[in-house]
């Protein structure tokens, strides 16, 4: 459509509900073929941002372009090229999977091959099943199938893996990577750090309706602290100065029997080698690499939902 330009352009988006400002001056652009994550705690404004982008809500101000199209002015064309997966269950209980797929297929000019799609999503044997008999994970996958059925150029996936078990979640991630390999741009709303780190080329961290940081997940994580950390249990006591004199090391701390060393560069090699020369072995070495979670805490002073609490 517009070569290798932006698939999504959002500038100064603002949306209020009465006195509450849900989205406040949000701007970002997503390149074609990119997986772009919108990450933040519940109520941060992620879903409102995405709902404005796909034309479900009208922003108070700001401009939105998807492949150069305006979600309100070019409604028909937008829905042909943008596939959407919403959070809520939205299908009648007494329709069969195959009947739902055939109906959604008929909405699009050039739909995809349904058999192949549901095979990839692990719904191949479910065509004759009623929607109400599907498990939560199967419903979620059907919802993803409906988002992809029209061969979209952009897929918007809102909390795609919420409610899935860990295996189903990893399957969904593989699917998304496969979809991107076909050149589809993906806008992924999530509050799972691991998901964003695994899938996204870039992530916008949203808090209280504002973007607090926007970068590649790894860069955001490194930015969160001044370096990386290594944690281990020494076989014998040693003088801290042994390590603090190393150029790679910035700090040495003690936590019970463990030693935590923070620093930069080839930190782990330098620490282990130096200790070995001094006759000390490092047991149970753990790389204390910082994560998006750290980045989020550092930038906002608050925690995202913990993965375990969501299951």
């Amino acid at each position: 459509m517009n070569g290798s330009g932006s698939a999504v352009e959002i500038a100064h988006l603002r949306k209020t509900y009465g006195p509450v400002t849900a989205v406040d001056d949000v701007s970002f652009s997503v390149a074609e073929g990119e997986i772009f994550g919108i990450l933040g705690p519940n109520g941060a404004g992620k879903t409102t941002t995405v709902e404005c982008a796909i034309g479900l809500r009208s922003p108070d101000s700001g401009t939105i372009r998807l492949l150069g199209l305006d979600p309100h002015g070019d409604r028909d064309e937008i829905h042909e090229v943008v596939g959407v997966q919403l959070q809520a269950n939205a299908l009648p209980a007494k329709l069969r999977v195959g009947e739902i797929l055939d109906m959604y297929r008929s909405f699009y000019r050039e739909p995809t091959d349904v058999s192949e799609l549901i095979e990839v999503l692990g719904l191949g044997g479910k065509r004759a099943d009623y929607y109400r008999s599907l498990s939560g994970g199967q419903r979620q996958r059907l919802s993803v199938a409906l988002a992809l059925i029209g061969r979209p150029k952009i897929a918007v996936l809102d909390e795609m893996t919420t409610g899935l078990d860990p295996q189903a979640r990893r399957d969904a991630w593989e699917l998304i990577e496969g979809v991107r390999a076909r050149g589809v741009t993906i806008l992924l709303v999530t509050h799972f750090m691991e998901e964003a780190e695994r899938l996204c080329d870039r992530v916008a961290l949203i808090d209280n309706g504002r973007i607090v940081a926007l970068d590649a997940p790894a860069s955001l994580a490194t930015r969160a602290r001044d370096g990386k950390g290594v944690r281990f249990r020494p076989s014998a006591p040693f003088d801290d100065r042994l390590l603090t004199e190393l150029p790679e090391v910035t700090r040495v701390e003690h936590g019970g029997p463990d030693v935590i060393v923070t620093g930069t560069g080839e930190l782990v090699n330098a620490v282990i080698l130096t200790l070995a020369v001094a006759g000390v072995t490092a047991h149970d070495v753990q790389l204390d690499s910082s994560s998006l979670e750290d980045a989020f805490v550092k930038l906002t002073g608050r925690h995202l939902h913990k993965e375990g609490a969501m299951a």
């Binding site: 042909e80 959407v84 919403l86 809520a88 299908l91 009648p92 329709l95 739902i100 109906m103 008929s106």
Partner: protein
């Protein structure tokens, strides 16, 4: 031959278009959850058979100008069927689709959610027409009701009754937040309105005040127009205009207040 080929060809043709597919699935849902079919066809046809077999209902009464009580009940049962479909059959699925987010989900596809509303209308209309044909044919052929005096007036009366009642159903779907809410509002409307249609006391037996009120209710006006077409001739303007008025007012209100999410 062609009359057999058509119902077979329709599903095949329907699958080629988005609207056809939506209608097809609405038909399946109506069949799998046959509340509308039971209320719209089953109950009125059952009542028709019961009333038709009651000797006291088949006695020609001088006070009714030689008509039987059964003759009076044919239009009442027609209106019963229409009211069931308009006040319950139409709004309950629509409210449930909004409650589930089906309409919202559709508004992210190239197909507008209003197509589901139209498809529901088409399905309920087909159920209504089936029911009316069964009631008229069985009422006249099996239970001796007089053949309609004015067929054109009857068609016009039924058309205006549908036009007046269906928007009331849409308005119920607009007011209710949930399918249960729509069901409660629909039933609260159905029984008093059916009283004024004469279900418990036919209009010909109503005292003056009740009849006056009945004339202003949508079901009362519908019964009057249909009954006059069947027994006398082209119906008077008053009930027809009353039905047209309900169509306009509730059509406007439903359009104004219906929400897609």
């Amino acid at each position: 031959m062609s009359s057999f080929a058509l119902p077979l060809a329709l599903p095949i043709l329907a699958r080629r278009t988005a609207f056809g597919n939506i209608v097809l699935n609405e038909v399946r849902l109506t069949w799998r959850r046959p509340v509308g079919l039971i209320g719209g066809i089953g109950i009125p046809v059952l009542l028709l058979v019961v009333f038709g077999e009651l000797p006291s209902f088949q006695r020609h009464m001088a006070s009714l100008g030689g008509l039987t009580t059964f003759d009076l009940y044919v239009p009442i049962l027609v209106v019963f069927s229409l009211a069931m479909l308009a006040l319950l059959g139409l709004p309950i699925p629509l409210a449930s689709y909004r409650e589930l987010g089906v309409l919202r989900r559709l508004s992210t596809t190239p197909v507008p959610p209003s197509w589901v509303l139209a498809a529901q209308g088409v399905v309920q209309l087909c159920v209504a027409l089936t029911s009316l044909i069964v009631i008229f044919v069985a009422g006249v052929a099996a239970f001796g009701a007089p053949a309609p005096k004015n067929a054109g007036g009857l068609v016009l009366s039924v058309a205006l009754a549908i036009a007046g009642l269906f928007p009331i159903g849409l308005m119920i779907a607009a007011m209710a937040r949930t399918a249960n809410g729509a069901s409660v509002i629909g039933r609260l409307g159905f029984f008093p309105l059916m009283f004024f249609a004469g279900l418990w006391l036919p209009r010909a037996m109503m005292p003056g005040v009740l009849l006056d009120i009945s004339n202003y209710t949508p079901l009362g006006a519908a019964v009057e127009a249909i009954q006059d077409s069947m027994l006398q001739g082209f119906p008077p303007a008053a009930p027809l205009l009353m039905l047209a008025g309900y169509a306009v007012v509730f059509g406007f209100l439903a359009r104004r207040f219906f929400r897609w999410e």
